[in-house]
Amino acid sequence: MFIEIAIAAALAVAAVYILYKNIKKSASGKCSGCSYKSEGCSCCAEESKK
């Protein structure tokens, strides 16, 4: 029971964190998963440089 609660809590925290990060990234005008890496998406252009 304890392990299940711990896993569920970890999943919930991870989910909130991932969603928060994605929304933050999106809200700054960066796409979360677009594949047009060189078609003008500045975030993807930056990512492809790294």
Partner: protein, 590 residues
């Protein structure tokens, strides 16, 4: 370290050469306007290559021209690699002559030598080099011939350092073209190549006054048939079977000793959410394999050309169709690529219309409902949604043109590239990028949304609760009345549409969690074919995802963002209402 700027007319193979030199995998398209920002790459330790957007001249003021001009004015640019289409030198060399103003050494790369040869054009490169005062290197970027020679020249700085043809005074466009013709007379010879090229032969049919539009619709229909009937959908069904008939029961058996709520979190929450979306991966891959084929073959540029006439009537330039086509993949780069349009009015108007296109995130919703409610006719239903998106863009464009945006006409010039058989490697790279981004979303946004939706649909203020008495059900029931007139007014649908604002795939993920179990058997209890179609129309047209909204704000400001959100909600509601009401009326009469 040498910095080399890679510059040339649109669609002459700059990015293909950039990839060949640097080993990068940047997106290459057989149409003008693919590159709209500069990109950097390296080969060896000493050469930096900067790929600049394609431009025809230095004396107009589109965004691409500004980017290129500003970059060439920098002191740290050591050499300009001017790539030209060897089969069309008379036009391409105009830009070469304009490069004189920057006082930089130029390496002239004659690309598409194979195409020139097929047209019977022979080029004396040594003579051309002497005549222009630049190093001339013949290559074929797609066939990767001549690339090593170019690398050698750049690595050893073995290029002319004098300016091109600097003694010659050329003051205006006519003089430059006259001078180019003189040079080409001396340096090129046209022998017995085909008088009518294969491209011209194909264009006679494809751009025929009467056949062009039916041919366009036929091509698109075949792509959809390939995706939704012949290949993509059957593969998707197999994956669905694998997930629902094998994976879910197997995980269920592993968790058989766990608490019921924990089983529900893993099976209904995570597997229900992520699993219900991931089964559409084959459909997305197949559709984009087809679209990449059209792009790389050169047909997409023709499609933009065909659309010009219709789009002009709607107050838009045909060039605006290119961002819209990009929007079929993802609205964010579609909005970014509106920068390539010369007029401010076109840029703003097109940014408002791009989200009306059916991006790949909407595809899982289409495929799910079409396969449940229109078995055997999925292709037709999904095709109709794509066409409806385009039709709505035309109508809205026309309305905005007459009301909000001032008239600001610009001519549409598009170069129709040579047809070519697409390279399998490029097709697979383009297609895989779609799959890669889709899988990335599965592991991040869809997973996270599924877990959160499960929690919010399993608890209320008193603790663990029935789904119909959960936090999400309260929210869903509060907004539900808005959707009742549209025929799909259940709280689960309302919540699914709301969560779709994060990313459109989440609509299906949310349905998977909220309805619980195999959606294909559950959904007929909550929709009929008409309300399902109204739902699809709503998904097609309603408020774009956060990324798209933010892209509009970033490019055009807060007012445009607000306009985009508000008009799309209203439009989606009105059109879905019309579809549902008219459908009921017609079905009632029948």
């Amino acid at each position: 370290m040498i910095t080399a700027a890679l510059l040339g007319n649109p669609n002459v193979g700059k990015t293909t050469l950039f990839n060949a030199l640097t080993g990068a995998n940047q997106y290459v398209g057989n149409w003008a306007g693919v590159t709209i920002e500069k990109k950097e790459g390296f080969f060896g330790k000493n050469v930096k290559i900067v790929d600049l957007p394609g431009i025809y001249a230095m004396d107009t003021y589109s965004n691409e021209e500004k980017i290129s001009k500003e970059f060439l004015q920098r002191d740290d640019v050591d050499v300009v690699i001017n790539i030209v289409d060897a089969s069309n030198l008379s036009r391409n060399l105009y830009l070469t002559f304009q490069l004189r103003q920057f006082n930089k050494p130029v390496v002239l790369v004659l690309n598409m030598m194979d195409v020139a040869k097929a047209k019977g054009i022979e080029i004396d490169c040594d003579k051309l080099s002497k005549r222009l005062g630049v190093t001339v290197i013949p290559i074929s970027a797609t066939k990767k011939t001549g690339i090593n020679k170019l690398k050698e020249v750049l690595e050893n700085s073995n290029f002319f350092t004098s300016l091109i043809d600097n003694d010659c005074q050329l003051d205006n466009e006519a003089d430059i073209y006259r001078h180019i013709e003189e040079i080409l007379k001396e340096c090129t010879r046209t022998t017995g190549g085909d008088t009518i090229t294969p491209t011209e032969r194909i264009d006679k049919l494809v751009l025929n006054k009467y056949l062009a539009y039916p041919f366009f619709i036929l091509v698109m229909y075949l792509i959809f048939q390939f995706t939704f009937s012949w290949v993509g959908q059957p593969l998707s069904d197999m994956l669905d079977m694998l997930v629902n008939d094998y994976l879910v029961p197997w995980v269920g058996s592993l968790l058989s000793d766990s608490n019921e709520w924990f089983q529900s979190l893993i099976i209904d929450g995570i597997m229900g959410g992520v699993g219900s979306v991931i089964v559409f991966l084959p459909v997305i891959l197949t559709l984009f394999l087809g679209i990449s084929f059209l792009e790389d073959s050169g047909y997409m540029a023709r499609a933009a050309f065909l659309m010009d006439k219709i789009m002009r009537r709607m107050g838009l330039s045909g060039k605006a169709f290119i961002p819209m086509m990009v929007g079929f993949g993802c609205s964010v780069p579609g909005i970014m690529s509106t920068r390539t349009l010369e007029s401010e009015k076109d840029r703003r108007l097109t940014a408002l219309l791009v989200p009306l296109m059916s991006c790949n995130a909407k595809l899982p919703v289409y495929v799910l409902l079409a396969s449940v409610f229109f078995p055997g006719n999925q292709t037709l239903i999904i095709f109709s949604l794509y066409l409806l998106g385009i039709a709505m863009a035309f109508i809205v464009g026309w309305i905005f043109d007459k009301t909000i945006f001032k008239k600001d006409e610009e001519p549409f010039i598009i170069e129709l590239p040579e047809y070519k058989m697409p390279e399998m490697r490029d097709l697979l790279i383009h297609t895989w990028r779609k799959g890669e981004s889709f899988l990335k979303k599965m592991g991040t946004v869809i997973f996270a949304a599924s877990v959160i939706i499960w929690f919010l649909s399993s608890f209320n203020f008193s603790g663990f609760a029935d789904i119909n008495d959960s936090f999400l059900s309260y929210l869903g029931k509060a907004i539900n009345p808005i959707f009742i007139p549209l025929g799909f007014g259940t709280w689960q649908n309302s919540v699914s549409l709301l969560t779709g604002i994060v990313a459109k795939e989440v609509v299906v993920g949310s349905m998977g969690v909220l309805y619980g179990g195999d959606l294909k058997s559950i959904l007929p209890g909550f929709f009929n074919p008409l309300s399902a179609y109204a739902f699809l129309v709503f998904v097609l047209l309603y408020t774009p995802c956060i990324s798209t909204v933010a892209a509009v704000k970033k490019e055009y400001g807060g007012k445009m963002m607000a306009l985009s959100i508000v008009y799309q909600i209203l439009l989606a509601w009105v059109v879905a209402f019309i579809v549902y009401s008219l459908g009921n009326l017609i079905l009632g009469i029948i």
